[in-house]
């Protein structure tokens, strides 16, 4: 028995050493891009898997030269990219260890991805320390580029401030009679930041509304919100703000709808886009729904060639419409292509960073301007719509979609988000 076990162990050791040496083999006409995303746990279904699908689809199309113009040149600066899929779960500290492995052991050329703000915040200094060209795809916290200038780290979507400023502006425009607002947000940095930005913006632009003193901060991944929903139902505020995402959001929508919360109050869900396709008929009508920018259901019908290619190819391959994370990861991969096309496939991390810094590019659904954080943080428009179940088509649609330009919902470069909102959003061009 033990001898057999030993031979097996030796076999495994041999296989691993082959895998190890294989990691060092590199041809000039190919590059490796690591794509971390939630592949296990509660965030995998609504976020991680669509994100990974979007990254894979866009990479395949780039490798085969099948993206619409102007991106129809084959490859990343001519090189074909292979993706390394990586699980983002397990906490920021584990991700730091894995990130070091990616760079020092597996020698990847670029790292493109990350959904959790906690992970991005932990990894930004590590990326700088290791001088590794890194593009954050989805994570939202504004602090990454506000805390310190970055040289090798980029983010190709707008940060959380724009989600909540745009939400408040949309409410002001479409629901001017709102008298008070409350919120349910996860008790961690993302939830706390989101609520703070929304609350501060409401105080600025709708000064006559009253913030509830009983805002709810349940624990992340709690899953049960019965008591919070009861408390909010009794609250006088007629608007409920939530930055819940993934499984928590779906649980909250189910439980809130069953208790009639969204009939009594106007629900504003800033990360609602992922739920729109997954919940179908169970998504209540009349929710103010955001997708953290111009992605997913909000832009399904935009008829640019790039967008129609994205929507149709995704639907063909995966059988459903692409949600926000798919767009965001696709967009980040596209940014990597742009950097490689400009700097060449054998470019150093530094040259790649120089190539991407400050560029403006047409992405699938929107124009991305890398103009914040010293050219490292993207600015894009941000918008909201109102949910409605289309019983003829058998799917959810959004009506009254309204987008606000980047210059309206994001602070100018070098200005801290909270200070910008508190200072009356100076310089905003709406």
């Amino acid at each position: 028995m033990n001898r057999r076990f030993l031979t097996r162990a030796l076999g495994i050791a041999a296989v691993s050493s082959v895998a190890l040496t294989g990691g060092f083999a590199q041809a000039k006409d190919s590059i490796t891009i690591a794509v971390p995303s939630f592949l296990t746990g509660g965030a995998a279904g609504p976020f991680g898997i669509p994100a990974m699908n979007g990254a894979k689809m866009v990479t395949d199309a780039i490798n085969n030269g099948k993206l619409p113009a102007p991106y129809n040149a084959k490859g990343f600066g001519g090189a074909s990219a292979s993706l390394i899929e990586l699980d983002e779960g397990g906490g920021a500290t584990k991700q730091v260890a894995e990130y070091r492995n990616l760079v020092e052991k597996r020698n990847v050329d670029a790292i493109v991805g990350y959904i959790s703000s906690g992970n991005c915040q932990a990894l930004a200094p590590i990326a700088e320390e290791l001088k590794q060209f890194t593009i954050f795809a989805t994570c939202g916290t504004p602090r990454i580029f506000e805390e310190a200038p970055r040289k090798y780290v980029f983010r190709t979507m707008g940060h959380a401030t724009s989600d909540n400023v745009a939400a408040a502006m949309y409410v002001k425009e479409k629901f001017p009679n709102v008298k008070g607002y409350t919120g349910i947000n996860q008790n961690y940095a993302w939830g706390q930041d989101s609520w703070r930005d929304f609350d501060l913006t409401m105080k600025q632009i709708m000064p006559n509304t009253v913030a509830s003193d009983k805002t709810q901060f349940p624990k992340i991944f709690a899953g049960q919100y019965g008591s919070e929903i009861s408390a909010m139902s009794l609250d006088k505020a007629d608007l409920v703000h939530s930055s819940f995402w993934g499984g928590d959001l779906e649980a909250f929508i189910f439980q809130g709808a069953a208790r009639g919360l969204f009939k009594k109050k106007l629900g504003v869900v800033t990360v609602g886009g992922t739920a729109a396709y997954r919940l179908g008929k169970k998504l209540p009508d009349g929710l103010v729904l955001g997708a953290r920018g111009p992605y997913g259901i909000l832009v399904k019908d935009r008829d640019s060639v790039l967008n129609q290619w994205f929507v149709n190819t995704y639907k063909d391959i995966y059988g459903i419409y692409p949600s926000g994370p798919a767009y965001q990861y696709g967009q980040a991969i596209l940014a990597a292509k742009i950097a490689y096309d400009k700097a060449g496939s054998d470019a150093s991390d530094e040259q790649l960073a120089d190539a991407l810094r400050g560029v403006t590019f047409e992405s699938f659904s929107t124009t991305v301007e890398m103009k914040l954080g010293g050219g490292h943080q993207a600015a894009t428009e941000n918008g909201y719509g109102i949910t409605k179940y289309d019983s003829e088509a058998g799917e959810n649609v959004v009506t009254d979609v309204k987008f606000y330009p980047a210059s309206c919902v994001l602070p100018p470069d070098g200005v801290d988000s909270v200070e910008w909102i508190n200072g009356g959003m100076k310089g905003a061009k709406c």
């Binding site: 296990t40 500290t93 200094p125 624990k219 992340i220």
Partner: protein
């Protein structure tokens, strides 16, 4: 105290590893640092396990050590590696001493779950407190050693390996003293131990405090080698489970076992993560089951068998 074979192997092996680290690639040095840091906590759990006690909450001390380093760094600007390490280990030891007054009265599942409960209280407090970093945690600056800020991680690696060697030697020595030998006897028959004139409660209290100090030191070193702390990776019950997992993987046979087991775990997880990003937990779990079924004495039993068959 250095005459027995185990001490010799620890000393010589440790020095060889320190020399090896000077030429090894960065990622291997990283894995060794993570492995050895965590192994300190396993060393403490090993002593408890020999006594028949399994704690499902030692992430409490591990996290306390890690967060002490973070607070020392961010609030007080302490960068010295030894001050941070002692801070983490002492605070965890103090907490362990106080909690030990309760724990020494419980055995079996009650002991395991009470520990979990206490660790989850700390977890809850940190997750809910924004000034303690909430779920995001903190980044920690690289430590200085005798006032010098090292260019690479090698000096920190040397410190960690040295601490590991010293701890292994001390625990090895302790397990040979009379009070240290009171492990299996307590597990087998507490009443008889009492009749022999020893206080079981005191013996367990001492072992528990020791394991808390070791876990605190482990957390402090882990935090410094990773450069990041967050509650999910440091204090959550899954971390406690991980520690128990590695203890079983290592086996209770020898003080060297935790270091081997911890390294095997680190490498196993790295490769599982690399080869099967969707299924890595299955591989880790499968290994756990394999060990329990075929190697109930852990990896160490394999090594000791090999040693016996060659000699």
């Amino acid at each position: 105290m250095l005459r027995d074979n185990t001490s010799k192997v620890v000393l010589i092996g440790g020095i060889l590893i320190i020399l090896f680290g000077a030429v090894a690639p960065n990622w291997i040095v990283n894995q060794l640092m993570f492995g050895f840091s965590r192994a300190l906590a396993i060393l403490g759990l090993l002593v408890l396990w020999r006594t028949g006690l399994v704690s499902f909450g030692h992430a409490f001390y591990f996290g306390l050590g890690a967060y002490t380093v973070a607070i020392l760094d961010i609030q007080l600007g302490v960068t010295d590696v030894f001050v941070r390490l002692l801070g983490g280990a002492c605070l965890a030891g103090l907490a362990g001493f106080l909690v030990g007054f309760i724990m020494r009265n419980y055995r079996d599942i009650f002991f395991a779950m009470l520990n979990t409960a206490i660790s989850m209280v700390l977890y809850g407090i940190i997750v809910k407190t924004e000034s303690l970093g909430s779920t995001d945690g903190f980044a920690i600056s690289l430590p200085t050693i005798f006032g010098v800020a090292p260019e690479t991680k090698y000096p920190l690696f040397v410190v960690i390996t040295t601490v590991a060697i010293v701890s292994a030697l001390l625990i090895n020595f302790y397990l040979k003293t009379t009070i240290g030998r009171l492990t299996t006897p307590i597990r087998d028959n507490e009443i008889r131990v009492e009749y022999l004139g020893f206080s079981v409660a005191h013996a367990i209290h001492l072992k528990y405090t020791m394991s808390a100090i070791l876990a605190g030191g482990a957390g402090a070193l882990m935090a410094m080698s990773l450069g990041q702390v967050d509650p999910d990776s440091m204090i959550n019950w899954t971390v406690s489970g991980e520690l128990v997992f590695i203890t079983i993987l290592s086996g209770p046979g020898n003080v060297i076992a935790p270091f081997i087991g911890s390294l095997v775990f680190e490498v196993l997880r790295t490769y599982a993560f690399e080869l099967a990003p969707h299924l890595w937990q299955l591989i880790v779990g499968g290994t756990f089951l394999t060990i329990i079924f075929f190697l109930p004495g852990g990896i160490w039993s394999l090594i000791s068998k090999l040693g016996r068959s060659t000699s």
